[in-house]
Structures are given as C-alpha cells and as structure tokens.
Amino acid sequence: MVREWVEATGSTVDIAVQAALQELGLESRDQAVVEVIKEGKPGILGSAWRAEDAVVKVMAKPPDRKRRRRRGRGGKNRGDGESGEDTRGSDGTPTTTPDQRAKGGKGAERPRREGRGKAQNAGERQPVKAAGETRESTSRGAGEPRDRGRGGQSGEPERTPREEEASIEEQAKVAEDFVKGLLGAFGLEGTVTTTIDDDILKIDVTGDQTEALVGRKGVIMQSVLEITRTVVQRKTFGAPRMRIDINGYAERRREALKIYAARQAERVLEDGGEVMLEPMNAADRKVVHDAVAEIAGVRSYSEGEDPDRAVVISKDEANDDE
C-alpha cells in the first residue's frame, strides 16, 4: 500500500516520532507505523553534549484494524478515492470489506493513500519533507477492482478496512455529541459548539459549571480532548486535528505561553545556551514551538517523556540533517 514515509530525527526516538507525527498531521502514535533507524543516545547529564540523535521513519497507518463498528450510516466503501459522501451500499450490507482488507494488507495494489483521515482532512499537511520514496498518487490503481460483493460476508466482516473517514463536519458532530453527553454524565450545565477552521476542529465549551472540566494547567480539559479524539476516531475512522477550549481557558493560557516562550527565547538569544521550560502537555508545547519558530535565531524541540516532556529552546546554529 502506498505509504508515505517521513523520516525525522530527535534527541530520543520519542521526540523523533513526535516530530514525524506532526509532519504527517497525525495526532498520536497509534495512527502510525514507526520504524526506528537509529536509537540515538542521550547526552551527558541531560545536556546535548555527546548526544546522538535518534532517527525514525514513520508513516500513517491504514485506518483499518481495530476500527470496526463504525458509525451507523451504513458506512460504505466509497468508490472514488477521496470525495465526499457516499451513499452506495445503503442497503447496509457489509459490502466493502474483507476483500478490501485482504488487498489492503498486501500492498502494491492499493495505491490509496494511507490513513484516510489524513488524506481527507489534512491533505495539505501531507509530509513536507517526506522521503518520498513511496509517495504515489491517491487515485486507485488499475486492477483495483473494489468489487464489493466479493467476500463481503465472509471472514471477519467487522474488520472493514478502508471505510472512508467521515467528513470533518460529521466528525464535528460526533465530537459535539460526545462532549455534550460527557457534560450530562458530569451533571454540568454548559454549551458545546464546534467550529472548523483550516481543517482543525475546535470544540468550545462554555458555562460556569464547566469550569470544573478545566483542571490544573488544563489537565482535565486535555483529557476531555484525548477521549473525544478517541471517540471520533472510533466512530469515524480518523480524527482531524482537534482543539478544545473551556470558558476561554485555552486561549488565555495560549497567550500567556506565547509571552513566556518569547521571553525565554530572548534569554537564549542573549545568553546563549539552552533553556528547558517546565514540562507541558502536547498542546502547550505546540504553542511554544510555534512562538519560538517566529523568532529568528532560536529553535525549539522537546525532550523527555510525558508527563515530564518539556520544550527546550536553543540557539539555532547547526541545522544539521533536517
């Protein structure tokens, strides 16, 4: 199958993987196949001294497996690679499936792009510096019969691979419903709205009581997001990039972080060396990375394992093997 490998380096395998995931527009490692090319070595005493970068190859994983049970719209295989709603097979029979899966497993004949999620919602985010060895068009290959009848009922019908990912609007609906249900389970009153901007699904929760879902440093809020993403993924075969805000907390935090990051970057510019910031969750780190990226002469990367993963800001000198 067509896969787009992205190679990335980082001070640890994990960091390299994260970088590659970001490149691919993936949210989590679950969505990817990872191949470690070089393990890398930590530096001495946590410094970059004598450190050796890890190198990994990552590509999007097909969204099949574990994604059975899709949402109920009879989810059919859609015949053309990428476009919108497909209503075929509305008779609800598992028309797509095992046959496709079988093929999917084997590679060559399915030049369909991996991770439909990506293809559809994140087209533009396809790997920038992908090695490109395997990138091909997203059209179906010849000899890709996708005759749905074949094998449709046999084998493991649930493992419908290649179900198309829902549109981002549908995903927004799933996310919204889930979060509303969650508020209900908590017994909190609040309003949930979703907006889609630049292929990013933003969930806004408002209402005094919903403050309870923010948590220290937004940790509860991030958990809500994590679960919501998992639910969207399960029900729609992929998840767009998602953000959440509860009563404007994320926005305020983002602004504060930007200022903080800029100040630390200036310090590095003046004093040289590196500054390691306090551990932050992925969303916060992203804000810092983005803020640092706008400042000439410094760069940032992350180090350590969640929940202690932290951004390091350093002078941008050697731009080695990017």
Binding site: S28, R29, D30, K66, R68, R69, E158, F178, G181, L182, G184, A185, F186, G187, A212, L213, G215, V219, I220, Q222, S223, V224, E226, I227, T230, V231, R234
Partner: protein, 83 residues
C-alpha cells in the same frame, strides 16, 4: 446520591463510547474508605487495548476524568482496568 455516582456515570459513559461492545462493559464501584472509591472496569477482551490506548494515554485520560468527577462530590476516585 450514592457515593461515587458521578464518577460511575462518567466512567461508564466514556468507556462505552470508546469500546466496540458497550454491552460487555462492566463497572463496579468499590468502596475504598470514607472519601474514596475505586471504579473497576471490565470490557470485552478485544476492547481493552482501546480503553488503555497507546502507552496508556486513554486510560490516563479516563482516570483524570474520573478524578474530576470524584471532585464534584468530594471523593477520590481511582480507576482500575481489569481483565
């Protein structure tokens, strides 16, 4: 309202939304002292991985939400995922 009720509702809701077989989800709230409870979660075998998530991310998020739910009624809530 019985103790841990909010957490129970939240955990049940979240887990059910994540798994393939919501009917196979079992949840038991076990008393664990005055101000704390343990939510014991069982799912179909095939769903456990999903509930745990890669490197335990989903499980951690569920625990955080359960903790938040416990806070709503002033108790500590742990979540255990059992085979």
């Amino acid at each position: 309202m019985s103790k841990g009720e909010i957490a129970e509702r939240v955990v049940r809701y979240v887990v059910s939304e994540i798994v393939d077989e919501p009917d196979a989800v079992e949840l038991e709230m076990v008393d664990d002292g005055e101000d704390s409870a343990v939510a014991e979660v069982r799912t179909a075998k095939s769903d456990m991985g999903r509930v745990i998530g890669r490197r335990g991310r989903v499980a951690r998020a569920i625990r955080t939400l359960a903790g938040a739910a416990g806070d709503e009624e002033g108790i500590d809530v742990q979540v255990e995922f059992l085979d």
